[in-house]
């Protein structure tokens, strides 16, 4: 036993020495990450790799990379807010020689330092889905205009109330997150209220989580059931909210909207759980990001500025004056499992 373990130890040590000997020479220093006249090596860093939205984004980017002959590799943080994990991902992609990094930043300021280092090394960095603060920290941003998506939801809910004074619950995401703030203020603008309006009967943050939303709204309903409108920041929270409203038999007196355009969300709209959702298009973000990477590798040309990949109201109860698509169209264009 002892002889054998010693022999194994010696072998591992010998392997270590020999491999170190030959590899150091080959891989000293690494290569240049800059684009121009070469093959695109695209790295994608998402917030997490389990959320269906980011799964769709990753799948679309991968498909686009394959179609355009680019190398592709995808990394992610472990949870929403995992800046450290995203910085690690950026460093590892640079180490692998990526010349374009597409990133959905966990927080708008969290990974700026690492992005800066990547850009200084000649890497094209494009923010997808979530903008950075300031937006000049990246070369370009391909994303949903979240303020606009919120505004569309607000405008729909306002129109659906048909002149009635809104009595509103707001189910928010993670307090302070950029996307949450943009959708929230967009919604208020669309419905014509401010944060101080007495028409807002209650607010609850639910971190984008279905069960937290259900709990939060159940608690709000203890305070008052005299409401006629609900804002939800995304569809899982819309489902949780619906469950809470249904338990109180309130679903018919309420106009509820949401944002995301996941296939499950579109089905919720079709089944009447909420009146409308605002669809965003992760596939477009990913494809345009990869195309920009290919262009950069070929010509050294970088995109710039904010590129809105658009958003669309999905509802089966269209209202004159509010542009919308029906759920049939929605199911053809949604993301996630159809």
């Amino acid at each position: 036993m002892r002889q054998r373990s010693l022999a194994a130890l010696a072998m591992v040590a010998a392997l270590a020495v020999t491999s170190a000997g030959c590899t150091v020479e080959r891989h000293w220093g690494g290569g240049s990450n800059a684009g121009g006249g070469g093959k695109a090596k695209v790295g994608l860093v998402t917030k997490t790799d389990t959320n269906p939205y980011f799964v769709e984004l990753r799948a679309a980017a991968k498909a686009a990379a394959e179609a355009n002959g680019a190398e592709f590799s995808a990394l992610a943080g472990q949870f929403d807010g995992d800046n450290d994990g995203q910085v690690r991902a950026i460093e590892n992609l640079m180490q692998q020689g990526a010349n374009t990094i597409l990133i959905t930043p966990s927080s708008s300021t969290g990974v700026l330092d690492a992005i800066d280092r990547a850009r200084k090394a000649g890497v094209l960095v494009i923010a997808l889905d979530t903008a950075t603060e300031p937006d000049t920290a990246v070369d370009a941003t391909f994303a949903t205009d979240n303020f606009e998506a919120g505004r569309q939801q607000g405008a729909y809910v306002k129109a659906a109330l048909n002149g009635k004074q809104p009595k509103l619950f707001m189910v928010d995401g993670t307090a302070g997150s950029t996307v949450d703030t943009q959708r929230h203020t967009g919604f208020l603008k669309g419905i014509g209220l401010t944060d101080a309006s007495p028409e807002i009967k209650g607010k609850t943050p639910a971190n984008g989580d279905q069960s937290l939303a259900q709990q939060g709204v159940e608690n709000l309903l203890q305070r008052t059931t005299d409401i006629n409108a609900v804002y939800t920041m995304n569809e899982p929270m819309g489902r949780g909210t619906y469950a809470a409203l249904q338990a109180r038999g309130l679903v018919n007196q309420i106009v509820m909207g949401s944002i995301d355009g996941g296939c499950e969300g579109v089905k919720n709209v079709r089944d009447g759980q909420y009146a409308a959702t605002v669809m965003q298009f992760p596939k477009k973000m990913a494809e345009q990001g990869v195309l920009a990477a290919v262009e950069y590798a070929k010509t050294g040309q970088k995109p710039s500025g904010f590129v809105n990949t658009g958003s669309a109201v999905i509802t089966d109860k269209p209202i004159p004056g509010v542009e919308s698509q029906d759920t049939k169209w929605g199911l053809e264009n949604c993301w996630g499992t159809k």
Binding site: S19, T23, H27, Q78
Partner: protein, 329 residues
């Protein structure tokens, strides 16, 4: 050195061997991982990359150092990462409010020391289990951080607060950050304190058999309290390390930091029942996780499979611990 250790003993079993030198197991795992990744990827064995792997393990490695101390006393700290996140926010907010970097840093560390004192007092005076105390604190501190920051991340511009990550020098061609240097000094310092001072012997004794320690004249409560205070200082320094890595104090960051630090300590050969473990082992444990992540990433292995690998390794490490103990008894 390995052969010498074995020769000096009459009938050394593998179990005894691991028990006597708990850092050997993780060191072997580290070596195997490095060899495998060096052979299987073109990019792993590159001095820049090796430096990067160490930098990536610094925050958890520092947290794990404090965790080691607490686990040695048969305790556990589930709130260390939450305390660290709160400290990063305190430092960042003070700087934004016009306080100088050095004061912000010191006050941040004071905060984690106070948290350590509170934990230690609850554990020693009221005899609450450390698991419960820190579980409660985890919730309290996470909420406090979010309240304190209004849920917003705070970017850090102060040079001193970023210093550990941004300043680097070359040592034999390897880029070394001041964060790496500081971590090394802390590991050395604590290694010395644990192995060469009476205080260190007391910590081990208290973790092994508190009653015999008390009977042999060791002030058990005072030792445990001192451990939580020292761990508090270390958590404060981890906050400094974290701002060096990501100069942005985020109340949502490091949600798994407590578990990651426990993983590093256990992979390093420490026993969750106290009294056994080493600073060197913890260093190896933290590095093993970082090496696995980096190497598997470069091999293109999905992050979820990386979690599977890390978890399996953790269970394996505890099996080795059990095996070693059974051999001994």
């Amino acid at each position: 050195m390995t052969t010498a250790t074995l020769k000096n003993n009459e009938r050394p079993s593998i179990g005894e061997f691991f028990l006597r030198a708990p850092a050997v197991g993780p060191a072997l795992a580290l070596l195997v991982a490095i060899v495998v990744f060096s052979l299987s990827t073109d990019t792993f064995l590159d001095l820049d990359n090796l430096s990067l792997v160490v930098q990536q393990s610094l925050v958890i490695g520092t947290l794990a150092l404090g965790q080691t101390l607490i686990i040695l006393t048969a305790g556990i700290d589930l709130a260390n990462a939450a305390a660290m996140v709160l400290a990063t926010l305190i430092m960042a907010k003070l700087v934004v409010g016009g306080v100088s970097g050095i004061w912000a840093l010191l006050l941040g560390i004071v905060a984690t020391v106070v948290i350590g004192m509170v934990t230690g007092s609850l554990v020693t005076r009221i005899k609450l289990p450390p698991f419960i105390v820190t579980l409660g604190l985890l919730t309290v501190l996470t909420a406090a951080a979010k309240l304190f920051a209004s849920g917003q991340a705070v970017p850090v511009a102060d040079e001193l607060l970023k210093w550990l990550g941004t300043r680097r020098y070359l040592f034999g061609g390897i880029p070394i950050t001041y964060g790496m240097t500081l971590a090394l000094l802390m590991y050395l310092g604590l290694w010395y304190a644990l192995t060469r001072t009476p205080w260190g012997k007391h910590v081990y004794a208290v973790g092994n058999a508190p009653e015999s320690a008390r009977l042999s004249g060791i002030k058990v409560n005072r030792t445990i309290l001192s451990v939580y205070i020292v761990a508090g200082v270390i958590v404060g320094i981890a906050a400094w390390q974290a701002l060096g890595r990501v100069p942005n104090a985020d109340p949502n960051a490091f949600q798994l930091g407590n578990l990651d630090s426990i993983t590093a300590v256990v992979l390093g050969g420490a026993s969750l029942f106290g009294g056994r473990g080493s600073v060197l082992g913890t260093m190896m444990g933290a590095l093993v996780v970082a090496v696995l992540r980096s190497g598997l990433t470069q091999l293109g292995v999905d992050a979820l499979y990386q979690d599977v690998a890390t978890g399996a390794l953790l269970i394996g490490a505890v099996c080795v611990d059990r095996f070693a103990r059974r051999q001994q008894s």
